[in-house]
Subunit: 499 residues, 2 copies
Amino acid sequence: MSSPLIHKFEGELRKISTLNSIIGLLSWDQEICLPAKGRKLRSEQIALLTGSVHQLKTSPEFVELVADLLEMPGLSEEDQANVRETWRHLKRSIKIPKELVEETSAATSAAFHAWREAREKKQFEIFGPFLEKLVSLKKQEVNLIGFDGHLYNGLLEEYEPGMDVDSLDLAFEVLKDKLSPIIKTISQRPVIDDSFMRGDFPEELQLQTGREYLSQMGYSWEAGRMDKAPHPFCIGFNPHDVRVTYEVDSGNISRFIWAILHEGGHALYEQGLNVEKWYLPVGSAGTMSLHESQSRLWENMVGRGKEFWSHNFPKLKQTFPGPLRSISTEMFYSACNKVQPGLIRIHADELTYHFHILIRYEIEKELFAGSVSVGDLPALWNRSYRDYLGLEVDDDGVGVLQDIHWSHGAFGYFPTYSLGSFYAAQFFDAAERAIPDLSDQIKNGNLATLREWLRIHIHQWGHRYSTEELCERVTGQKLNSRFFMEYITKKYGEIYALN
Amino acid sequence: MSSPLIHKFEGELRKISTLNSIIGLLSWDQEICLPAKGRKLRSEQIALLTGSVHQLKTSPEFVELVADLLEMPGLSEEDQANVRETWRHLKRSIKIPKELVEETSAATSAAFHAWREAREKKQFEIFGPFLEKLVSLKKQEVNLIGFDGHLYNGLLEEYEPGMDVDSLDLAFEVLKDKLSPIIKTISQRPVIDDSFMRGDFPEELQLQTGREYLSQMGYSWEAGRMDKAPHPFCIGFNPHDVRVTYEVDSGNISRFIWAILHEGGHALYEQGLNVEKWYLPVGSAGTMSLHESQSRLWENMVGRGKEFWSHNFPKLKQTFPGPLRSISTEMFYSACNKVQPGLIRIHADELTYHFHILIRYEIEKELFAGSVSVGDLPALWNRSYRDYLGLEVDDDGVGVLQDIHWSHGAFGYFPTYSLGSFYAAQFFDAAERAIPDLSDQIKNGNLATLREWLRIHIHQWGHRYSTEELCERVTGQKLNSRFFMEYITKKYGEIYALN
């Protein structure tokens, strides 16, 4: 059945999604194309459309329509999912007064500029007062919206509905217990040589390689493109226009390859959504952790896997005969999985990465619980890096100021990165069971079966199910970090001869 | 004074202009970046914003506001200009019923696809019925809007307000009388050798040259960029974001150079508008012919001038030593001004170009007067090319189907190209009188004085004055094609030793 109310509801969502897709393009253009002087007009364009979206979403007629549909019997499961997801966003939006939205928007904009300056000058004090303001505004917001248990749960709800502090605490506790000894043992093993990752890797040849890998993955160039940007990202306006970006350093191949595989994973998800329903939640990507599971699966399980390089390394060696001349597939495989604690999250290996997240998660929790103040953050940060990773932080620029997230007011976002890794391992395990010769297929350069499996079991559903529910449908059980631990133990056990 | 009504009026215009600037970006991206499959979403995005603009512009409150301001005493001259120009568009829009707008939009879309197919297959009959429909819709539109004298005046009004059939007839009559004998004499002179324009001109070196010329002209790269596109164009979202595009053929330098100088002329105009008022008519470009005067002035008066090449040819020769090795500045100057009748308008020289326009103008007039029918066009076209240019048209693809304009429903547009040349000559004459050593300056590679003169006398005014009025203010007299004729007579008299 398709009631006139559903018809009206979908019509409004289509307008909202179309406007959001335009805002997306304006942002993409700002990163890739916009001339320096064009920023002022760009802000004005984005503000106008953002205002229109807000107006459409919070108009009393639309809110009433969605509320009515929530109560309506006899809706199809798909319609119910669309109504449920729309309501989830809506009920947050309508609780926040316009003044707070505007104040937060202004404070975020100011905080971002302060953060940039602070990071450049390595002076946390420049950013401190702005961060304090954002924390206070965010607390107000969460209090208005409401939350169960910890206030931090209200923050998580924005990025990862259904996730809460208790579950995260448990997951990180397990992680800490099991990863710490592995990392410690590895630190006593001989250091893996990855010096050949630095050398003469001409930009155009790296790009050609990246394009080839994206093609192997099944990224559709008819529905996307790849551009240079100040930082790698993926943005999908709808499944027929999904763009990835890259950073490239002609003196270091490792910066480019795994970033493009990562963004490619995001892009396959976006391209695999149902294009007929692109403007509805069931045709849109799910939560952050689900998105991140797709990028990490391709970056790590596939892209740092023995099988992938068994197929691709000989060609890579031909492409870069200078630096890779005397390197074997095994040496390359080990090098791209080298474990080494470092100060910078985005350059971390698969293991120590999660301590970067844990540190941020613990700090955010304390900050919002009020047990530490903004002024304490640099010291707390540095102590955490000493305790968890055994590192001394040189300055705040490579310490507490390294990430952009807080300057955007994004608190509660970091944990989705670790969750993404856990989901990735659990999904990949399910794929391996469903496709018994998956390993051989990847070894033969055939990534299509895996991609199709992901499309059918994950991508095509969009936001029809919650991430937990989807996880159960796909893997037969709830999220369980043991899949990640097993993956890590097996892989690094071999690489570092841990057993 | 700044009344609250003016404040409200400017606020509405700012929204409308912001939306239009976004539509502009969506179109630019469609030409430059959009993946093949992204077209459907793009149409939907453009349609949504176009609808919003139409709604804002024709809302009864806004129409009433503008009507009130039209009658309001004591407005500043600038405010008056803004109200006048807004009303000029508005009074057209409100007279056309929504149904006709939608029917025209659908008919245009269908006609464009038919035209593309027809041109490819060289079969006018495929396009004929669609063209017939567009002509009939356009007649309805002009009848609803109203016009003085000829119905064709109503068509002209859309692109070149103030221009009419009587003035155009006179201008073209003079042109015909004076240009025909010159072209005839030239055809009896030895043919100029321009074969060296074809050869090995590597793409990257052409682009470097183009960027250098744009920089010489004073194009600001902080407020613009240059991209490859299926056809060269310039689009300005506001003076701080003005983008040019190019086509490049590594086997032929002539396709690139003058096109980039042409688009550069458009771009200087857009960058020279008043950025504080970008959303108002006084900060927006004037009529089509005025815009075209700027592109032609830089393409022809400067870019096909002896002085420009006296400065730039030595460097060009160094850049392309292969094809240009044995070529002198004089030979190059002659070659880029070679006169030779051809079938294709966009490849025509400065003289025969206007016969291409005359032919289209005469055909459009007859079509809208009803003295010829759509079915007669191919024969009429071919006869005109025989009569005016002495050429046999091989097929409709290089004949009546060559231009995109009619498929867009743009009738009455072509004459603005010739008017642009006339204005260009008249403006350049004024500039030469105002800057006595202009010729020497260009010879020394200094284009700044000319650009500043144009900015002060033309660009900065936007649409504050009508083009005729601006012409009088800048040159001391109304548009007069004698400036163009003098320019032509002098230049080609020398090149072809006509005296």
